[in-house]
Symmetry: none
Subunit: 238 residues, 2 copies
Amino acid sequence: MELIGELDAPRIGALQLDGDGALVQLRAFIARSDLSPLDRLPPERELCETLGVTRNELRKALTILEAEGAVTRHVGRGTFIAEGERPAEQGIGAIAKRTSPRAVMRARFLIEPVIAEEAAQMATQEQVENLIATNAQARAAGSWREYETLDNQFHRQIAEAADNVALLAMFDQLNALRRTVVWGRMRSDRPAPGPDHHSFAQHAAILGALSDRDGALARKAMQSHLSAVADRLFSNAD
Amino acid sequence: MELIGELDAPRIGALQLDGDGALVQLRAFIARSDLSPLDRLPPERELCETLGVTRNELRKALTILEAEGAVTRHVGRGTFIAEGERPAEQGIGAIAKRTSPRAVMRARFLIEPVIAEEAAQMATQEQVENLIATNAQARAAGSWREYETLDNQFHRQIAEAADNVALLAMFDQLNALRRTVVWGRMRSDRPAPGPDHHSFAQHAAILGALSDRDGALARKAMQSHLSAVADRLFSNAD
DNA sequence: TGATCCGGATTGGTAAACCAATGTGGCGAT
DNA sequence: ATCGCCACATTGGTTTACCAATCCGGATCA
């Protein structure tokens, strides 16, 4: 059934241009009329005539630019070139640019204890044993980097033990955010922490609470631990 | 009231809920109904009713997805998932398939109270007043959909008041997950809730705690509220 | 029996009237 | 003269009816 188009014969090449021709023209117009951010561009009814497109086509193009964050539109006021950057995407990187290490650690301090409390109620015996094993491995780490990996694993295993994929996803996102934002403060060339490192005792306290199914204690132990971590991070002391 | 250069108050994340509700819902729909490339999605007239948005809003969202290359549209044939696979939405969609409404609501029950507690300490007077205004608007909502929008706004404003972008990002992700997973239990054609709806009193309790800067009370009030929401959601009673 | 063609149903696209938010300017009271 | 207020013009947004491309099922004919 490829016989269509014989009668009306719409220009084949013109079809593609028709589809987003307005967008191309609009982009060209903005570029050529060197508008600076926060400047207003002509009203739709006027601009569509200038560009030789229908108001519908123009509005479709404007909708795309708006989604890209290139322009903002306000009823009664007009359409404006967006200021500064394009806050369009919402990935980890975009969030990271708008937050700070302190804020991320604060968020961690608020959320992880709750996860630990939930884990205390949900963890299986096997998961607790795995946590104990991980903590033991961390004690024996040969380098700071190896220790860090095991420390991450410890915290994530707790989140896994909460047995809630949604909660685990929250943890992972926050963790990714932390790695992005706090990165640079980590000096991975340091030697491995000694067996008397405060974290080990704190981890052990968390483990004890998990074993005892003591949610409130697990929460408090995690809070204490993260407080210490934040202090160490921001004081530049060991 | 100058809206343009408001940099002193970090109004960072007004990205999603405000104007592009249809786009969020549409993305969630595509993620949830695991459509493979070249699959056709429902016709506009049907889909807009399913999602509880107007055809205009849906078409605007589709225009954006089309510009992103996520879908292709053909008159008389329909709208199709683009050929080149879409790795973008992998996050929420992938998580959604591995979790359940109960788990998501549980995560919400664990996290939002902590956010409320933080908000009680961080909120500005203006933010509290805005929350009061939002709650008042929700009372006067004319339709269930409008009420739902305002309810979402209420909860997000609390998250904003915590003044922590990382925390706000967690909230947004959980909220997106909830919309994807819990969807289908929402009956958007129901009439607006009466002024004696339990949520209003519970919201008021939260507001009171925020006004008094009583973090512990805010946490408990939010817990009570979310408990009630979950009960209502899973019991199918109003 | 099979292909072909036609007419209606379906579906995305379009145009124009209408709406609501906003800005502007003049008018009048003080 | 100055301030407040109100009517009107401007502007982006929305609704509605309609259009055009496509699909589908049955009628028709070789």
